[in-house]
């Protein structure tokens, strides 16, 4: 009886020993296998909690300076594209526009009058041309007459020596010839005068034409006036500032009456068209991250809520830690770094899901996991294609 009990006890002990060894071995092997599995999953699906939600921010600044007379939005309000945000007092710009339009009309009238002046200058040139032609003809007539009188005098002079003609006839011929010479000189002077009058008229005509400022079919004077009108119209249009896209108004801390200066940002718009998570991944995981991959974004503000996103790109540049410069020389510090921390690169993940009950806000803390599969989000152009076409280096 005692022997049987002893045998049973030994058998139980042996069984327990075997079971113990088996469980011990399974525990060690299990720890190894699950450890490898965890490492592998972490490498294939990189994840980080160093991530934040962000959107594009556009500062809204007026193009013109003036007092705000209407403010149609409140802080944190949602605005649609084209919605009126605020109005700057348009009256000074409307006055400038009216002045510019009046100046355009003046310019048009001036050009019209100069065109008319240019036309009359052309007519004057024509008239002077006729006068010059008449003077030319007169010179020709008097030259012919002068030639005749000179020949007549030359014929009379030998005859006068032989007493065939009277002295009086000779004197008469000489005086006629002298009068003819004087008339010829007068006619030539008139012809020269007509010629210079034509040149003067032509010069006047050219000046009138240049004052019209016509270049081909474009009149520079009128175009300049039109440009001033267009600029004034633009200024009036700039008085009404509209939302350039669907957005949320943020950091609006002013009201009507504030004097807005051109270029000075008054508040910001958060672009609601694109929301991103910027996740800073260690460089050791970048090999597993490619544009176009699907990603899961958890926000700590909404526990349990998962947003689907797509990797759209990995940052190309970080500020290098070891690049300092003192004057013109690099500053190299003496270090003995045995353990070096991995750099992190920002990975941009576009979030396409929207949930009105869980709105996205810039700056929210996020937890991002990049999945090992391409994103299949309807209506999404494959980011990998876009990226591949842009970047010659595969990411």
């Amino acid at each position: 009886m005692e022997n049987t009990q002893t045998n049973n006890h030994v058998m139980n002990l042996k069984r327990r020993m075997m079971l113990g060894r088996l469980i011990g071995t399974l525990i060690v092997l299990g720890a190894l296998v699950t450890g490898i599995l965890v490492w592998r999953i972490n490498y294939q699906h990189p994840r980080t909690n160093d991530a934040m939600v962000r959107a594009n921010i556009v500062g809204i600044a007026p193009e013109v300076s003036g007092r705000i007379v209407e403010l149609h939005v409140e802080d944190n309000q949602y605005v649609k594209q084209g919605e009126l945000l605020y109005v700057i007092d348009p009256r000074p710009f409307q006055v400038k526009l009216a002045q510019a339009r009046a100046e355009l009309q003046v310019a048009e009238k001036e050009v019209e009058s100069r065109r008319a002046a240019s036309g009359s200058a052309g007519l004057a040139i024509e008239r002077l041309g006729h006068q010059r032609a008449a003077a030319d003809a007169e010179v020709t007539r008097i030259e012919a007459e002068d030639e005749y009188l000179r020949n007549y005098l030359e014929r009379l002079e030998p005859l006068a020596e032989k007493q065939y003609v009277t002295t009086d006839q000779l004197k008469q011929a000489r005086s006629k010839f002298a009068a003819s010479r004087a008339a010829l000189a007068d006619a030539r002077a008139k012809e020269l005068s007509a010629r210079s009058a034509i040149e003067e008229a032509k010069s006047d005509s050219r000046r009138a034409v240049s004052l019209i400022a016509q270049v081909g079919t474009v009149n520079a004077r009128i175009e300049a006036a039109r440009a001033v009108v267009a600029a004034a119209e633009l200024d009036v249009e700039y008085c009404s500032v509209r939302a350039p896209f669907d957005a949320y108004v943020t950091n609006l801390n002013t009201r009507e009456g504030e004097y807005a200066r051109a270029g000075m940002q008054m508040f910001a718009l958060v672009d609601d068209r694109h929301w991103y998570a910027i996740a800073n991944f260690k460089e050791t995981y970048l090999q597993s991250i490619h544009p176009g991959q699907e990603a899961e974004v958890f926000l700590v503000g909404y526990p349990g809520k998962r947003y689907r996103g797509v990797v759209t790109g990995i940052g190309w540049a970080n500020y290098p830690d070891n690049m300092k410069q003192q004057g013109v020389l690099p500053e190299v510090q003496r270090t003995l770094n045995w353990v070096i921390l991995a750099s992190r690169f920002p990975v941009r993940i576009e979030i396409h899901e929207r949930d009105p009950e869980h709105p996205l806000r810039m700056g929210m803390t996020a937890f991002v996991t990049v999945l090992d599969r391409p994103a299949e989000i309807p209506g999404l152009s494959p980011a990998s294609d876009k990226e591949a076409s842009k970047a010659p280096i595969p990411q």
């Binding site: 060894r21 299990g30 958890f298």
Partner: protein, 88 residues
């Protein structure tokens, strides 16, 4: 009776903790705790429970060197919890 009530309320509370922990980050009063810390602590608790069971069934002396087995059991529980609740 008391034990039954305790079990009745403790089981939902226990699972509720794990269900909230499915979120990759546990938020406690505005501070966010990463999954691996939760897994390590839960793995420690689970490892202690398992080791207690092994001791109760008198298997502990035959498992092997305690310096190897105890950390391995802790690591195993930690990894299994991570794989079950946080790997996807």
């Amino acid at each position: 009776m008391l034990l039954r009530k305790l079990i009745k309320f403790s089981f939902p509370a226990f699972f509720a903790v794990f269900l909230t922990a499915c979120d990759p980050i546990l938020s406690i009063e505005g501070s966010f705790w990463p999954a691996w810390i939760i897994c390590i602590l839960a793995g420690l608790a689970a490892g202690m429970v398992l080791m207690w069971q092994l001791v109760r069934h008198r298997l502990a002396p035959y498992l092997g060197p305690p310096l190897l087995i105890v950390p391995s059991l802790w690591a195993l529980c930690t990894f299994v919890i991570w794989l079950l609740f946080y790997s996807t």
